[in-house]
Amino acid sequence: MRRFNLFYYIKQGFHGAGSHGFMTFASIGIMACCLLIMGSFSLLAINLEHNLAALMAENEFLAYVDDSYDDQTAQTLESEITAIENVASCTFISREEALANYVGELEDTSLYADVPASALRARFSVQVHDIEQLQATLDEVEAIEGVVKINAALDVADGFVTMRNVMVIIALVMVVILIIVSFFIISNAIKLATSSREREIAIMKMVGATNSFVRWPFVVEGLILGLGSSLVAMLAQWGVYQLLVEAVSVYSHVQLINIIPFEALASTVAIAFCGIGLFVGVLGSVTTIRKFLLV
């Protein structure tokens, strides 16, 4: 591409966007809204994933040791349990500690004052890396000689996994729908631009313009719309996110929801918005201009 052609394309692209001011404004506005909705869903999904990951990390199961094992023998099982691939950590709890923990959770401890520690089994508190592999891990731990019983909240783990999968699917569907909507918006803006310049395009073709020469100014126009939308959406997303963070911080004493700061996500959001904006902008303009190039 020759240098003065590049300047010509850029100039014509800006000229095209400027000469359809209202349509350009409307396209940028609507597409920015699409990006904002898309971004909000994605950020919600990321935050839910983050919080679920934290909750899942706390999800542990107990592996009870055979009664006949004393504490010293029981502790030898720890190496076998940690050797299992999905096990993140493994903590030994002696009979005394187990009793103390149990009694400590009760309001009236006097009832258990005479209960000997030997009434309970020694146990391991085991945390896993991937909760989706929990059942397989339980089977492996249970197969270790000396482990007699497992106590795991499989229903809770399944609930977490289902919730995460549903959330990812919803986010993906929303992203796809909104990309398609944005594509049609850009296509319409470019269609308006091309139909008002149909005569110019016909003249260009008749005097020997190559298809790329005709196409480039519209591609630039699509880029401008895509980039403009991304910038507007980025700023709006920042504002919406900050409002959400402030709203959640009112209930911060509950400490149930941990929101990732926007600064940590800003570069990812910017790249995603620009990427989607530019992709949709260029695709919309290229597909729309195609039928005008058949002359």
């Binding site: 010509y8 005569r199 016909a202 073709k205 005097v207 020997g208």
Partner: protein, 230 residues
């Protein structure tokens, strides 16, 4: 050179056979009128020359381009050898006369230096040097058509094809326009004019190809426009 050899053209849309075994040769530097009644096939001939339409059978050579084998991506390069003038001028309304000429030069990647040199020369040739900064709606019909001719000339084509160039002009302006095209022809450019203007054709005493119902019915040097008697 434009050479038609046994050209047949059938439109796929309605299976109308628009041209039947049309053959003729227009040598470089010739001035030719293509005449005939409406629907005779004149426009089809022009569309075939500019590769807007493809032949059904036969062969067409336009300069070095064999249109039967011409690849789609080569069509722009064929069109750069042709200058086309339309009955309705087809100027871009929001550009000045200079802007209209500059526009078509930019399309074929002409450098700024050449653009600056070429536009005043062509405007002088068509007698519109003082109208360079006017917009098309500030010009008369005759002037607008001269701008269209200037636009067709500006990329220095070997052939100018004019489709009813005087259709929107009064007889006096039409005569002036033909004189201008004759002057351009004398500078070496091949001219092919499709027209209905009987008096004008008869007045210029040039080669006349008559087409009727898709057939070439006469092809005469220094001919007359008289297809009704054929």
């Amino acid at each position: 050179m434009i050479q038609f050899t046994n050209v047949k053209k059938t439109y796929d849309s309605n299976l109308t056979e628009a041209l039947h075994d049309v053959s003729f040769v227009i040598e470089d530097g010739e001035f030719v009128f293509l005449v005939g009644p409406s629907g005779s096939g004149k426009s089809t001939i022009l569309k075939l020359i500019t590769a807007e339409e493809r032949i059904t059978s036969g062969g067409i050579l336009v300069g070095d381009f064999d249109l039967g084998k011409l690849k789609k991506r080569k069509v722009p390069y064929l069109r750069r050898t042709l200058g086309i003038v339309f009955q309705d001028f087809r100027l871009i309304e929001n550009r000045t006369v200079r802007g209209n000429l500059e526009f078509v030069m930019r399309v074929v990647n002409t450098s700024n230096k050449v653009i600056k040199e070429r536009i005043p020369y062509v405007l002088d040739l068509v007698g519109l040097s003082d109208k360079a900064d006017c917009y098309p709606n500030e010009l008369s019909g005759g002037e607008q058509q001269r701008v269209a001719i200037a636009r067709a000339l500006v990329n220095n084509p070997s052939t100018i094809i004019a489709d009813e160039p005087t259709g929107n002009l009064d007889p006096e302006r039409s005569y002036e326009l033909m004189c201008l095209l004759e002057k351009i022809n004398q500078l070496g450019t091949t001219i092919l004019i499709v027209t209905h203007e009987r008096d004008l054709v008869n007045c210029f005493n040039k080669r006349v190809i008559t087409i009727d119902n898709g057939y070439v019915t006469s092809d005469m040097e220094n001919g007359l426009y008289d297809y009704e008697t054929i």
